[in-house]
Amino acid sequence: MRIKDHPILHFEEKKIIQFYYNNQLVEGQEGDTIASALHALGVKKLSESIHLHRPRGFYCAIGNCASCNMIVDGIPNVRTCITPLQEGMKVETQTNKGDLYVK
């Protein structure tokens, strides 16, 4: 789902970043946010609503709406649309309110 050829913008080859999505080893690239990397992999469902467990994905891309909240390295409620992707991150779909007590 990555744009290779664009008439206005130039997307250069970027360094690959490996991270974990629901325990699976996947790849993103330097400059990605967690959400953009997942989107490039075709993952659109990022979280579930707290009560009815409806699938949610990103909507605003600017950190306002919280539809993109995921658990990152054990910490819930991370706004993945504005969080830069880092090597080795463990990203999980958040399906509840988020347990803030990180053991």
Binding site: I3, P7, S36, R56, C60, A61, I62, C81
Partner: protein
């Protein structure tokens, strides 16, 4: 506690331009921006901007961002920049609290310019929370900043300038735009944008709206319904469209949350996009020495945000005793530029909104 003469909240076009004229007048400032980069929404705009030369017409948005950032960097001795830093508290006595990762700090300012811009509105329809349904601005960010496609077969809801421009940008990225859907009887944005889409084969359905989305983990299909003169759905007129992405472009609304913290006088003015602070001619809110500029004071084009930024930086500097060498000339020029931008038929909405604002200001006095 840090002491700063001028704190500018928001590093988009309005904030950057305010910092520049303030610096020209000799006033130092600090720009606090929650994103990792400056430039606001300009950085994802790949199209050429309208307006006049003074507002960088015919320049692509991301190049305008570069120009404004370069201007600010030229005054590195006067303008301090904090990115990746969120303002979490704003107080009437002009104290600002900021959070950078896990670090919390306090700033005492003499004057503050709040230039936090706007956020996208949401449209209510069944299953509007399905993944694959995005704000149009969000899709621009995804495509133009991160180089990721939002989908392959997309429908745009809303035919204002953002809806029309983003539809064109989707086509440039290789996405099939199946239709532009507009609830009003006429296209909302500039017709030159609509003409571009028509000749590229994109159908535009006026008096239509999206009434339902279908899909398991992502949108797969939508229901589009025709509306009558009274904006009511016409029974039996619905048809389905297979999509894997929907862009919602139904307007922007000012992001004035911080102003609620200082109990600034606000009013709901729909022509300006929603809740806006009541401001005087110098863009000052009801709280002394707290000013606003850009979309937070009313939704307009980026060209207006730029001029409002220059203007507000100028008057705030003057207020704090820093007189720009060309103060009167520039002040008149900025006022005249704004009048010009707002004087045509597309400026009617903003003129109405500003008139309501002026009325409210008099009423409050």
């Amino acid at each position: 506690m840090l002491n700063k003469d001028l704190v500018i909240i928001g590093g988009g076009p309005a904030g950057l331009c305010a910092a520049k004229t303030a610096a020209e007048a000799g006033l130092s400032s600090i720009i606090i921006e929650r994103s990792p980069k400056l430039g606001g929404q300009l950085v994802k705009q790949t199209h050429m901007f309208f307006g006049s030369e003074k507002q960088y017409a015919k320049t692509r948005g991301y190049n305008i961002a570069k120009i404004l950032i370069d201007d600010v960097n030229r005054y590195h001795d006067k303008i301090e920049i904090l990115t990746d830093t969120t303002v979490v508290g704003l107080y009437k006595d002009k104290v600002i609290t900021i959070l950078h990762q896990d670090e919390y700090r306090k700033i005492q300012a003499k004057a503050i310019i709040v230039a936090t811009g706007a956020s996208e509105k949401v449209l209510a329809f069944e299953n509007n929370d399905l993944p694959g349904i995005y704000g149009a601005g969000a899709v621009q960010t995804l495509m133009n900043v991160y180089g990721v496609l939002p989908g392959h077969d997309v429908v745009m809801v809303g035919s204002g300038n953002i809806g029309l421009i983003v539809s064109y940008q989707l086509l440039q990225a290789g996405v099939n735009v199946k239709a532009v859907i507009e609830a009003a009887p006429t296209i909302g944005g500039y017709k030159v944008h609509a003409s571009k889409l028509k000749r590229l084969g994109v159908p535009i359905y006026t008096q239509h709206t999206i009434t339902k989305a279908f899909g398991k983990d992502c949108v797969e299909k939508i229901l589009v319904t025709k509306l009558d003169q009274n904006w009511n759905p016409i029974e039996g007129s619905s048809f389905e469209m297979d999509v894997d992405g929907v862009c919602i472009s139904v307007g922007l609304t000012p992001m004035g949350n911080l102003l609620a913290m200082i109990d600034a006088q606000m009013k709901y003015i729909s022509e300006l996009g929603g809740m806006v602070p009541i401001i005087n001619h110098e863009h000052e809110t009801s709280i002394e020495n707290i000013f606003v500029c850009g979309d937070i004071s009313g939704i307009e084009e980026a060209s207006s945000a730029i001029v409002e930024g220059y203007y507000t930086g100028l008057v705030v500097a003057n207020r704090l005793g820093y007189h720009h060498p060309n103060y009167m000339l520039l002040k008149e020029d900025y006022e005249s530029q704004l009048n010009n931008l707002r004087s045509g038929p597309f400026g009617e909405k903003i003129r109405l909104g500003l008139a309501k604002m002026a009325e409210e200001l008099n009423h409050v006095k």
